[in-house]
Symmetry: C2
Amino acid sequence: MTTPLSPTPRSTVRRNAIRARSDRAELYDLLDAGLVGHLGLAMPTGPLVLPTAYGRDGDTLYLHGSTGAATLRAAGGGLPVCFTVTHVDGIVYSRSAFHHSMNHRSAVVQGTARPVTDPDERWHALAVLTEHLAPGSWTATRQPDRRELAATAVLALDLTEASVKTRTGPPGEDERDLRTPAADWAGVLPLHTRWGTPVPCPLLPADLPVPERVSSRG
Amino acid sequence: MTTPLSPTPRSTVRRNAIRARSDRAELYDLLDAGLVGHLGLAMPTGPLVLPTAYGRDGDTLYLHGSTGAATLRAAGGGLPVCFTVTHVDGIVYSRSAFHHSMNHRSAVVQGTARPVTDPDERWHALAVLTEHLAPGSWTATRQPDRRELAATAVLALDLTEASVKTRTGPPGEDERDLRTPAADWAGVLPLHTRWGTPVPCPLLPADLPVPERVSSRG
């Protein structure tokens, strides 16, 4: 039950095709593991790329922001957008400067952002967005009131046109550099992201325990 | 000796102006601490945002990629671009779903990418790019030959039009949520990036030590 990625020419990865993956499950995993994506818009003043929170429900990405943000107003009008999520997994040290690289996974989604106006879908989208950012928070905190809802622009972006690109493993080397080593080392320096120790809001009662939804976050 | 950021209307941060910083040193720090940026282009097929390595020399950002990449060819023609670098520092848990947020630092650079064609500047740019990705690697490994140089497209992007936006600290809360707590917790869950244990290339001699330029990377 998988849909092929890259059904259109513009979303087909041309460079380093060996790094392109056609697995929708990999796209989902990559998006679900990310926190921030980069939303690209062709504004009248030129291209604009802004860090943007998101959440996924099936093949729909939800994005949100203030209704006062010019970029979200522009996207809501049906402008084409690009939304990219990237994980950096490590630095690839090669025997040559040329073959240095980064191990990474990235998803590039192209499409037309659709403003979400139906009240039920907006409510659902805000739940998806909140749960992506902070699992458990939608039910554990006060949910939006009418004023807050009115101040929030919600966009939906379909995952139909998406490409995934990954680079993993040791450096790819020239034969000549293996025969006559010109470097003091080669390999991969991994990069990890880790949650730190939760910092309570200073206005909380001192004895309030950190809930498991925060302390045990994976 | 600082230049104000955001000298033009399009690069002035409109939303949450309190989060905008006008400190060029902060821009440099933010860029120097990043590994990958997101390059936005207005392609004929629509906006495109691609993860891209970079390096900084003063007020010039250097970007590079394969001469076969359509995006870099397009940018090299003098197209306007946007290049954004984002650090996610933590998840902000609020007493309301609405005030959940992300602590982050981001730099948005707008400008026209200039293809770097002068051989001396190209060589310098590749050194800057390599040293940003892997400090010490430019001199510790084999440097590019003529064929590798010919296969590499180098772009320069001026840092004149740049804006920095940051969010730090505890959640901003509504008074009403402090009076009648509706959440089990509020605060910040920090997110850290850490280098892992270096993984040597399997083709290296088994007893080759990891050099300090890798093992002690900050």
